[in-house]
């Protein structure tokens, strides 16, 4: 199989780069090794079976269907194990006897193995091989912008299991990441001291970032609609314009054989959500459809600190509702994949406490995205089309605006095994129109990324260069990444490169208004250097195969230092007479250190860990050095979690240092610490798996603000029930 050969060629690079990828799960119980043998695990309890499903490269495989079948095939009775952690599946109590375990996962060959239960708990790792040519593999190749890992980057696979938390909640636990409300009522993220525009969010390879403002609203994409989320910290020129501080790669939920799932959520402040998903597969191919409906009143109480006595008030106009639909399928006979996705979010855009000016302002973001792709083990081609409408209306001011974006994108990537080259390219056309205006600016852009991997022993070096052309600015951005495996426990990696971001449509073409004027002469902002150096130490590395696939692992520690300098950053500033307009200012610099660790507490106890970021981010202009607003010098998360009486429990505390609120730096929001708690329990009902999850945010009802005068809610509870088959 040619594809397999290519994979083997790239194995070391992937292993090393995966070492740079963060091995720490946010759910602390999911740190396991890639062994094949079973072992007695008292922690699993009597008559219970724990199964870890891993790929050949050692990655935990989530979303698999693991069945325990009686040896008597004639009866064909089976029970489905419940996924209680990333790639970790547990059975209910079962009788002694002989069984067969069957693991099915999208993109992998079905794995089977006999197992005999004799009255004690048992933990087994099942390794699933990649399906050489399969529909699922085609899907994976098509919808991943760049299959494989990102060499030299600190990369995190954001866990999507573990309860009802939002994507923003989960992202906020990553080192170097800050999440905060956006002015329009959404949520935006920043990476390593960046501004929100510095985080490129790709959903199935297409930018989620607002084409007008440049930032991505994380609240638009519910977790229930996703199958994977990967955060790549640092600039990544291979993704073209926009990936100047980090990239978040999201994948819509994919067809998964014969399976179905449904979820229901209720929570504080009028939160209510339902989602469903069904997939069918057969000789003709696969087809899946899903939906998600959600709404929240967000009418929480907060103390108005602007008034004497801090009277308690009710947050107004912070409600939101959303509808998300998707349909995807792939014929078995052809290596193609098609997907249709619709996202519609309508919400209030509340103002600061103390003003009613925006109490009726509403914001709607609606998109329809179609994708058609061809993929094989050595390459892919995708064509995508998006129509996105962004509406803002404020009846109090008789104000209404509608902007529409039409985007077409053709992308391809492949590997040239003979030369060891990785090649990817894209061609895109984006057009924005605004209701009531004749202007319809169009942006054409295209780019090519060419990379080569050199391997010698334990060292891997990958140089690459991205060339991007656009009618709004062009760039050539090189990158070089190195990784070295220093024994079984130590991994070192480093990377340096450049990147760029084109001005947003609003920067260039926003309609003139009183005191506001776009700047059509604006140039791209350029990251002239983005570098990181990291080291990780995994005490369990290389030992898992020997210890029988312990589900526990050992101490894991990772430290990453980073530095980024951005020239000509695009900043809206006022002229001498307060005419606000975007300009290319002098520079942004950000530097910092990210540390994360994860450790078992005792032989069979829970795991604890945390991530910490120390950073300094400054906007410089002439001799001036302003602290970047809302970027703390310190932030961190600490957690402890484990399984007790088959209930997965996790407690965590988020700490964030003080932050300036404006470039002037007159005021600082105080540091805060908020605690959260999660619990989940899986049940088996015949062939169905039921999971109940509880999340409590802001456990001690701390009053704090992420944006000045935008109060955060106090304690909130969220409960989710999910049924899977």
């Amino acid at each position: 199989m040619r594809g397999r050969e290519v994979r083997r060629d790239r194995t070391l690079a992937m292993v090393l780069s995966l070492a740079a990828s963060v091995p720490f799960p946010a759910t602390s119980h999911a740190q396991e090794g890639p062994a094949l043998r079973g072992e007695v695990d008292e922690g699993a309890g009597p008559h219970r079976l724990t199964v870890l499903v891993r790929s050949e490269s050692g990655e935990l495989v989530r979303g698999a269907i693991v069945r325990l079948m009686t040896a008597d095939r004639a009866s064909v009775s089976a029970s489905v194990l419940v996924e209680v952690g990333e790639g970790r599946y547990e059975s209910d109590e079962v009788e002694d006897g002989r069984y067969e375990l069957v693991a099915e996962a999208l993109g992998y060959e079905t794995a089977r193995r006999p197992v005999e239960l004799d009255g004690s708990g048992i933990s087994i790792t099942m390794t699933v091989g990649v399906q050489p040519v399969a529909v699922a593999d085609v899907i994976a190749a098509v919808i991943r912008p760049d299959a494989g890992a990102m060499p030299g980057h600190a990369t995190s696979h954001i866990p999507l299991d573990g309860g009802p938390r939002t994507l923003a909640d989960r992202l906020a636990e990553e080192p170097g990441v800050q999440v905060r409300p956006s002015v329009g009522g959404g949520q935006v993220g920043t990476v390593r001291g960046s501004r929100p525009e510095g985080l490129l969010v790709l959903l199935d390879g297409l930018p989620v970032n607002d084409p007008l403002g440049g930032s991505a609203d994380l609240s638009r994409i519910p977790v229930a609609t996703l199958s994977a989320a990967t955060l790549v910290r640092g600039a990544s020129p291979r993704f073209g314009s926009g990936a100047i501080a980090g990239v978040l790669l999201l994948e819509s939920r994919r067809p998964g054989g014969m399976s179905a799932a449904g979820g229901l959520e209720v929570g504080s402040f009028g939160r209510l959500a339902a989602d469903g998903y069904a997939s069918v597969g057969g000789e003709l191919g696969t087809l899946a459809a899903g939906f998600r409906m959600e709404g929240i009143e967000n009418d929480y109480e907060y103390p108005n600190r602007l008034l004497s006595g801090n009277p308690v008030e009710i947050r107004e106009n912070a409600d939101a509702e959303g509808l998300h639909l998707w349909l995807s399928g792939a014929p078995a006979a052809l290596p193609v994949f098609a997907q249709l996705r619709y996202d519609d979010v309508e919400r209030g855009a509340p103002g600061r406490m103390g003003t009613q000016a925006l109490d009726e302002a509403r914001y709607t973001d609606r998109s329809l995205q179609a994708l058609l792709g061809y993929g094989s083990s050595t390459g892919r081609v995708t064509g995508t089309m998006v129509r996105r409408d962004i509406l803002y209306r404020d009846p109090r001011r008789s104000e209404e605006s509608t902007q529409s974006l039409t985007s077409l994108r053709l992308a391809g990537s492949g590997w040239l095994p003979g030369l060891g080259l990785e090649l990817s390219s894209y061609l895109a056309r984006e057009a924005v129109s605004e209701a009531g205006t004749a202007d319809r600016p169009v942006r054409w852009s295209g780019g090519v990324w060419l990379g080569r991997t050199f391997e010698t022993g334990r060292l891997s070096v990958q140089p690459g260069v991205a060339t991007d052309l656009s009618n709004d600015g062009s760039a050539v951005n090189p990158e070089i990444a190195l990784a070295a495996q220093l024994g079984p426990a130590w991994t070192l990696w480093g990377r340096a490169g450049s990147a760029y971001r084109l001005p947003s449509f609003a920067d260039l073409y926003a309609a003139s208004a009183r005191s506001i004027q776009a700047n059509p002469n604006l140039g791209p902002e350029r990251v002239v250097i983005d570098a990181e150096a990291g080291v990780s130490w995994t005490s369990s590395a290389g030992t898992d195969a020997d210890d029988g696939g312990s589900a526990r692992g050992g101490l894991d520690v990772q430290a990453v230092a980073f530095f980024r300098r951005t020239n000509d950053p695009i900043v809206w500033v006022a002229s001498a007479v307060a005419l606000w307009s975007p300009r290319n200012l002098d520079r942004l610099t950000a530097a910092g250190l990210e540390i994360r660790g994860d450790v078992p507490l005792g032989d069979r106890g829970p795991r604890a860990g945390g991530s910490f970021t120390f950073q300094r981010s400054r906007l410089g202009f002439g001799d001036n050095r302003n602290p970047m607003p809302y970027q703390p010098d310190f932030a961190g998360d600490i957690y402890i979690g484990g399984v007790v009486a088959r209930i997965w429990l996790r407690g965590a505390v988020r700490i964030e240092g003080s932050r300036t609120t404006t470039l002037a730096g007159v005021r600082r929001l105080p540091a805060y610490a908020v605690a959260r708690f999660d619990a989940s329990r899986g049940f088996r009902i015949g062939a169905l798996a039921l999971e109940a999850a509880l999340a409590i945010d802001n456990l001690f009802a701390v009053r704090y603000e992420l944006i000045e005068l935008y109060p955060e809610p106090g304690r909130s509870l969220l409960f989710r029930l999910e049924l899977r088959r």
Partner: protein
């Protein structure tokens, strides 16, 4: 700070000021602005050649609108900050202030729009604290304030409510009284002179939010008793501010913007004699007005732009009335290297020296001390987005 606490604080502050009238006069300014050095007792600062050795420093307040602060400065042979900046809070989005009580107290009033919170802030400068005052109407969008020391109050117009309010500055926090309702279309300033209340109405459309002129600007005149005197139509469009200087009311008709919001260059000044209500003008600016300040030298200083990039500074004699340094020969405001300076706000000390504030939003602007002819004398870092200057000790 509660009104009662503010009153207590104010009384405490008053009780600490003893001594001769001289000490109370100059010393208070020093205390108020955080001046470290007490200076001589002369109050005659009229020497046009500049201060002599023993002359007291002049003092002024600057409003840094983007930085949301107020900052004191002292001026002698040079200009320098005095004390720490006063934080106006995260809601603040105003661009103008009014100051009163230089001798007996120092209180500044600033306002916020309905985006900011629809409030006025009464700032006790010596204690660097402020009390928020909310208006009785739901949506007010308060105008630039005007302090009337004799009444212990400030007058504020409601751009959105078309009402005129009087709020107490001696007992800050007291709900404002409605002085008049249904006045004009878009009140930009209220000025009190000669026992009359002059309401400056820009007369633009804020109902459909086009902000286009509905007609010429107007001044609606009331007796302080509330009785309507008359309405004066001004020979200009888009009045945005007015000052009282040398006993004359000088109104800045800023002029209109074109379809792409470019300045149309039709700004002008108009002068009203508060006693006779005689109107003079227009006095064309040959540009659009940006700001207007009354100098302590009896002149009015007007900032004018034609391109939203550079600003010219004009000097106007309200008693003439007429330009001293008009559109054809603006003051040559210069930086230390001789480069032209764009002053968002410019005013003059009693000796004729100019103080000019440049507007920067991405970093702190500067305050310049200039000679009467605009030549550079000294400069000091200002704040973010400086939009207003008030001389508090000339």
């Amino acid at each position: 700070m509660s009104p009662a606490a503010a009153t207590r604080q104010r009384e405490d502050m008053r009780s600490s000021r003893h001594g001769s009238p001289c000490f109370r006069g100059v010393g208070f300014v020093s205390i108020a602005l955080g001046l470290a050095t007490l200076v001589g007792c002369s109050t005659d600062g009229g020497d046009p050649t500049g201060p002599g050795p023993g002359d007291p420093p002049a003092a002024l307040l600057a409003l840094h609108s983007v930085g949301q602060t107020m900052q004191g400065y002292e001026v002698s042979g040079e200009i320098s900050p005095s004390g720490a900046a006063i934080d106006l809070g995260g809601l603040f989005d105003g661009d103008a202030m009014a100051v009163g009580g230089v001798v007996t107290d120092l209180t500044a009033v600033v306002t916020e729009s309905d985006f900011g919170g629809d409030r006025a802030l009464v700032v006790d400068v010596p204690s660097r604290s402020s009390v928020a005052v909310t208006f009785p109407d739901e949506t007010v969008n308060p105008s630039k304030p005007f302090v009337v020391e004799s009444r212990g109050s400030a007058f504020v117009g409601g751009r959105a409510s078309n009402s005129v309010y009087e709020l107490s500055i001696t007992v800050p926090g007291t709900p404002p009284a409605v002085f008049a309702r249904d006045v004009g279309e878009f009140i930009e300033k209220v000025v009190v002179a000669n026992d009359r209340v002059f309401v400056i109405d820009s007369n633009i459309d804020d109902v459909d939010f086009t902000f286009e002129p509905l007609g010429n600007s107007r001044v609606v005149v009331f007796e302080t008793s509330g009785e309507l005197v008359r309405e004066i139509e001004l020979p200009g469009l888009q009045a945005t501010n007015a000052v009282l200087s040398a006993g004359r009311l000088v109104v800045l008709n800023a002029g209109t913007l074109g379809p792409a919001f470019e300045p149309e260059g039709n700004g002008s000044l108009a002068v009203i004699d508060p006693a006779s209500l005689q109107l003079s003008g227009p006095f064309p600016l040959e540009g659009n007005g940006v700001s207007i300040e009354e100098g302590a030298d009896g002149r009015v200083y007007v900032a004018v732009t034609s391109d939203f990039v550079s600003i010219r500074t004009l000097r106007f004699d309200p008693t003439g009335p007429g330009f001293v340094d008009g559109p054809q020969n603006p003051i040559q405001t210069r930086d230390s290297d001789g480069a032209p300076l764009s002053c968002w706000a410019a005013t003059a000390l009693s000796d004729g020296r100019l103080v000019c504030a440049t507007f920067r939003s991405e970093q702190a602007g500067e305050l310049f001390l200039l000679g009467t002819d605009g030549g550079f004398i000294d400069s000091t870092p200002g704040g973010f987005g400086t939009t207003d200057l008030e001389i508090v000790a000339p």
